[in-house]
Amino acid sequence: MATSSTSTTLANAIAPCFVLDRREAVPALIGRHDDFLFVAGLAGTSRDIAALTNDAAHVYSMAGAMGGAAMMGLGLALARRDRRVMVLTGDGELLMNLGALATIAVLNPPNLSILVVDNGHYGETGYQKSHTSLGVDLEKIAAGSGIKRTATVEKAADLAGGARLLREGNGTAFVLLRVKPTEPPPFKRDLDPARCRVRFKLALPSPA
C-alpha cells in the first residue's frame, strides 16, 4: 500500500467540503448486504465490501482489470434477473471506462445498481487527485449517458434516499457517494481471482 498518513492529511486539506466517511456511509447505503450480489472495483471499494461482508462468497472483487467492474456487473445482472446486483466501485476505476455507463443505460436492467465511492483521489497509489477533484461530476455523466435514476449523496441526510434508490425501482440506479479522502477499512481479502470465481459460483443458488 503506497499510502501514508501525511498524504491522507494533505488530501483532506484540499477537499474540505466532503464530510462523509466511507466506513460509515458505504454500510449505511448498502444496508443488508445479503440482498445483493456484488461486483467490486479494485483498491478501496474492494476493502469496503470485504470488511462489510467478511469477504463473503456473494462478492467478486477486482484487484486489477481496472475499468471492468461496471460491465462485469451488467453481465451478471443480465444473467440473473432474479437477483439484485450492485457494482461498488471508485471514481478512478469508473473514469477508466466511462463508456460502460452508456452501454448500461441503453440496456437499463432493473436489477442493477451502481454505487460509486468518490473520494476524488487515487487512494491506492498515494492520494493523487482524480478528475473528480477537478470539476468532473460522475452523476452528471451517468445522467447524460441516459441512466434515469441517479443521485449524489454527500451529507448524512442524503443516505436514506440513496439507500432506497439502490434497492428499489424499475431501472438501473446510479448513486455517487462523495466522501472524505480517508482510508478504507483494513482487510486482508482473498486476492486469487480464480478461487473467488469458483467460490462465487458455488455459493450462488440456481434461479428459482
Partner: protein
C-alpha cells in the same frame, strides 16, 4: 469495416449457421462493437428475443461483461474486429487470472489483400497479442473451416473452460475495396 466481396447469400449461409450453432450451445449474451464483418450475427442477435444483444462502446467492455455472465451461469460471445483486440489486452487479465471461459469471434483486417495501411499494425499483432494473454487462436479461411472452428471453440470454452478466439480471415470475409 469489412464489405463482403462474395455473394451476400453465401456469406449469409455460413454466418447463419454459426449463429444457430451458438444458440444450440445456449449462448445468450452477444456483445459487439458494430462491424460489417459480423453484420449477420449482430442482426440475428438483435432479432432474437431469447438473447441479450449488447452493443459496446469499446471491446474491453465485452471481456468484463462475459466474465460477469459466467459468474451468473450464462454463456456469451464477443464479436470484434482485429483492431478491437488491442482494446482488450489488460481486461484479459480478468479472463486469464480468473480462469473465466471466453469465446471471441474476430473479423480480421490487415491481412490477406488489405488495402488500408492503418489496419496492418493491429491486424499483424492480433494473434500474438491474444496468445500472450492466454487466449487460444483458431484461424478460419473458408466457410467450412469457420463452422468447424466455432464448433471446436464452443467445446474448448464451455466444456474445457478455456479462452478461445476464432479469427475469420480476409480470405474468408473478403478484403474491403479502396
Amino acid at each position: 469495416m469489412n464489405v463482403e466481396t462474395k455473394a451476400d447469400s453465401e456469406a449469409a449461409r455460413w454466418q447463419d449457421q454459426v449463429y444457430d450453432l451458438l444458440r444450440r450451445y445456449n449462448v445468450t449474451q452477444i456483445a459487439y462493437v458494430p462491424d460489417a464483418g459480423h453484420r449477420i450475427l449482430i442482426d440475428r442477435s438483435l432479432a432474437d428475443p431469447q438473447v441479450h444483444s449488447v452493443a459496446l462502446t469499446t471491446e474491453e467492455e465485452g471481456v468484463a461483461l462475459l466474465a460477469g455472465a459466467d459468474l451468473g451461469g450464462a454463456r456469451g460471445v464477443l464479436l470484434l474486429q482485429s483492431s478491437g483486440v488491442g482494446n482488450c489486452i489488460n481486461m484479459l487479465s480478468l479472463t486469464s487470472g480468473g480462469r473465466f471461459p471466453l469465446l471471441a469471434l474476430v473479423s480480421m483486417r490487415g491481412d490477406f489483400g488489405e488495402g488500408n495501411p492503418w489496419q496492418y499494425p493491429m491486424g499483424r499483432a492480433t494473434q500474438p497479442v491474444l496468445e500472450a494473454m492466454g487466449v487460444i487462436c483458431l484461424r478460419a479461411d473458408d466457410p467450412d473451416e469457420a463452422l468447424r472452428a466455432v464448433g471446436a471453440a464452443l467445446t474448448m470454452v464451455y466444456q474445457a473452460g478455456h479462452a478461445v478466439a476464432v479469427l475469420f480471415t480476409q480470405k474468408l470475409l473478403g478484403a474491403k475495396k479502396f
